[in-house]
Homo-oligomer: 580 residues x 2
């Protein structure tokens, strides 16, 4: 095998064309080995094998610098830069993350997991190079799906100002995570169909030189194109047409399903993960479909991750015009739902907690300053959510709950979640965000409130004395266990409170607690800094009440075990009891 | 006068062309009256008089709906929609804000003060219209300067998916606040020079129909174009070439200086505002220029507001390649400075507190996850800053200080500010943000620390007992006065602490305070929720220390008097003393 001899990109530069092609096959075998057993980004990586080989054949990393947008197509790069073992050998799977990572290799410049950032990051590398008179090539790799993101478009617009070496490699596989959305994709199609020759050209319209490679899975063509632009003295776009999922039939055919995969049987393509029971994705989808059918003013909006609320292709078709995927464009999505709400619609925008970060200003200015009654559904907003450092869902409480006018709700079970969502869609007074539970579908047989318009009213679910536990959202169940343990160990019936509202305080209830409680414990599923518990603490700060805030430490954490993190932060009933 | 009879757009529809032209002159007189006495956005409004008249002549607001990007060109719209008195008569100046405002008129759909939002907001209006089968025209007005912003580009890309009536009116005056930056402006130039006929066309490349109006200050041409697109059944861009500052020679000549104005003498164009003494804009510029001359790796980056740190045109020329204005593109700016820092440069990015909101995810992901040692300079981050609801600088502490890895510094005087800035530029361990003081240039004759690498060490500036006052940044001087008052009234020497670090706690010092203090008072120039004081409160929450947090209430406030806000929040030494 050639791949076994490749420990750095230098090792492939002596290869003949046939050897490079064999290497491509071996790399796909390595990818298949890891992805079928561990899962990961499938389609984009399978499509970008040849382009990565050609990149490392022509350019000299790490002197020449490559930035891979969102890292979805960086696996071959990892294999060629000393990390092949993590793909070839099962016991080395944990050597690497799913994203570029400077801690792994000097060939990785940045830790990247959000889309649309590569051009701007690479512009910075180029600017610093120019200031010190350097000569290395700077290459930003970006997929067509990422082009619709504001940061990418800002970067592409700016790039032409560099007036020095700068190469933007557009990996066009005619797909985002799901299908692409927006007018620029018509232009990419026109460019592909005219072999890059049509006069109207988005990249030229943004001031950039341009070159097209029709067969982006043909190493010869790629090497020729890259050699042509190597050491170029101005910014250029190399537009490469690749096949998403190339080399694995199921992935070439079912592109959306194979963007990302769980472990699967390589022979059949069937997933090995047996999902059983309920999940919030399909329950949310079911609810929204029903809602939309009953009311034509309800509209569901997503930004390139439709399945985060269960909207697979068939469900999207079912929803018709009442379902809008804006593509990777979270800023646009939030401003648009504000506009929909202002003109009488009932919009719901859903994405992951981590991706709401991409639209802070729109939440503040377009939505909350204007008090538009739109609903934001915040997914994987939890320590139980995604655990890659670039996708953490533990920061949205400080980020969103301190924005004025927003009503941010944290349900504690399935029935409460849908009651909150339903109330939010039907009310017309407030911008509302709802955290989708992330600790499994937990049901209650107790009645849940259907009206949340009397803001900031907490719910006392167990009246006790001495100790009050205020347990927010997904951590409500920890609160339940804690009060049980307190009773068991001390005989004291502690008070248990479901606060429901992240964005406000039930001052009346908190005041009343002073009468027969000396300790208040808060629990929240997110970092403590700037979060929910600190506000409770401030309420009591000049009183005699002792307050204990439990949540996560402010830090970036990567590929963690939930149990470890809960343990480290004392988020276990027995540890809390010991503390107090 | 015609304008005196115009109480709604209906009133101009019977006007003959000559009357419309006279109306335009009268409107400019009204604008001149207000702007010369009160200040405001000059150039964009003078350039957009005819286009606004034509808009209201052709379309039927408020049934047809217009969204004015950033509101910089909305004054004529206000005059034609029942608010002329606020321009014609001095005693009505306070009737209106400088931005569109639904509280003023049903013709204003949104409160808008940040750029690049109109297309997305209007897309939402259009989507809601389509869902209910409405037929009204939806018009998004956007200036060429705003086109470089990510939200605008996301919106324009998405617009073509609407497949229904949607009109984007691009007001191209060939200027941003300062000059435009980015490749798309080459295309706008080509379009202007080819009378809109060149094949390569940014808007067509984004899937949109297109129409050009060469003389955007000629009412006939505008009416013709608008009548052509009225009730159109698909999205279209009407690209209108206007003259910024049209009708006032100084503004037509000195476009950047006349984008926005303070009160001035209408005869001479000379500002009536006499500035005396020092200011942080020019001091920061002076410092950075010196720094850049001494070290070619230092680079100053701004996003369309170069004068927020004093970089007027001559200073920008002086800085040469070491000064980069990215245009309205804050996301790109922050990602780029991360890239610059990673490749050995020493970047400083400055903008207003309110505009940092536009780049939350880049601060988190591109900068802080990657721990890039870049410097962010946060301007007008204070209750003493801008007081329009869309430009408030009182939210950056909760927004930024809860992002892991960031070191956020709050200087208490001029010498400390420059020491912090200098340390930040020279260190290579942390992403650092520094709040530019906003309470006047206050000097100290005491030595200030030059090294802040020992993170989170607070400075005790007065050692006392019983009461400790922790006074952050701009509110340090309130802290000084408070300790003086405490001594005067009670004879107690209170402890005074300059915490310096917003992002961390000096646990050792806080612990020590327990020995001989019973009360801690925190002061911060921003909202309390998610802010600095709550963290101090959390530190003491299970101890006997009583803590009192002073700062601002979480709310959107508009055109406030600083004194009133300080009073309402008890941010006065005598009120605090009374409280405790």
């Amino acid at each position: 095998m050639y791949i076994e001899k490749v420990n750095s990109p230098d090792d492939i530069r002596g290869f003949r064309m046939e050897q490079l092609k064999d290497l491509a096959s071996e790399i796909r075998e390595g990818l298949m080995n890891r992805l079928s057993k561990k899962g990961g980004h499938f389609g984009p990586n399978f499509g970008f094998v040849e382009a990565t080989i050609a990149l490392h054949y022509v350019f000299h990393s790490p002197v020449d610098k490559m930035v891979f947008d969102v890292s979805h197509q960086s696996y071959t790069h990892k294999m060629l830069t000393g990390r092949k073992d993590a793909y070839l050998y099962d016991d080395h799977f944990e050597d690497v993350s799913g994203y570029t990572n400077p801690e792994e290799s000097e060939h990785d410049l940045f830790n990247v997991g959000h889309t649309s950032t590569s051009v701007s990051l690479a512009c910075g590398l180029a600017k610093a190079r120019d200031l010190r008179g350097g000569k290395e090539n700077i290459i930003a790799v970006i997929g067509d799906g990422s082009l619709s993101g504001g940061e990418a478009l800002e970067g592409i617009n700016f790039a032409s100002e560099l007036e020095s070496n700068f190469i933007i490699l557009v990996n066009d596989n005619d797909m985002s995570i799901a299908q692409n959305h927006g007018g620029l994709y018509k232009n990419l199609k026109e460019l592909r169909e005219s072999n890059g020759t049509c006069e109207c050209n988005l990249f030229k319209a943004m001031g950039l030189d341009y070159r097209y490679v029709a067969d982006g899975n043909k190493i010869e063509a790629l090497i020729e194109a890259f050699e042509h632009v190597k050491d170029i003295d101005h910014p250029v776009v190399v537009h490469v047409n690749t096949v998403k999922g190339k080399g694995y039939k199921p992935a070439e055919t079912e592109k959306e399903n194979w963007h990302w995969c769980m472990p699967f049987d390589a022979q059949t393509g069937k997933s090995k993960v047996v999902t059983s029971g309920e999940d919030y994705e399909s329950k949310t989808c079911e609810y929204l479909l029903k809602k939309m059918k009953a009311d034509e003013k309800v509209v569901t909006v997503v930004a390139a991750v439709p399945t985060c609320i269960g909207f697979t292709e068939d469900k999207r078709k079912e929803a018709g015009k009442q379902f809008v995927d804006v593509g990777i464009a979270e800023e646009h999505a939030v401003a648009m739902v504000s506009g929909i709400a202002k003109n009488g619609g009932k919009p719901v925008f859903a994405t992951h907690s981590s991706f709401f970060q991409r639209t802070y200003d729109q939440i503040s200015q377009d939505l909350c300053v204007n008090n538009s009654p739109a609903t934001l559904l915040v997914n994987t907003a939890s320590v139980y959510g995604m655990n890659d450092v670039t996708h953490l869902g533990i920061y949205d409480i400080p980020m969103m709950s301190n924005i004025p006018n927003l009503v941010y709700l944290a349900p504690t079970n399935c029935e409460e979640y849908f009651a909150m969502l339903d109330w939010s869609i039907e009310q017309n007074q407030y911008p509302v965000a709802v955290r989708i539970p992330c600790n499994g579908v937990i049901h209650t047989d107790k009645p849940v409130d259907t009206d949340y318009s009397n803001l900031n009213k907490y719910q006392m679910t167990q009246q006790g004395t001495e100790i009050a536990v205020i347990a927010l959202g997904d951590f409500y169940q920890i609160g339940e266990k804690l009060t049980e343990l307190i009773f068991e160990k001390t005989g004291t019936t502690a008070t248990l409170i479901n606060p429901r509202f992240i964005t406000g305080m039930d001052e009346e209830m908190l005041e009343r607690l002073k009468e027969n409680h000396s300790k208040v414990i808060t629990l929240e599923d997110g970092i403590l800094n700037g979060g929910f518990g600190e506000k409770i603490t401030r309420f009591y700060s000049s009183s005699d009440m002792k307050v204990y805030n439990y949540g996560l430490k402010k830090a970036f954490i990567d590929r963690y075990s939930v149990e470890d993190v809960l343990e480290q932060n004392h988020l276990k009933p027995e540890l809390i009891l010991k503390d107090i």
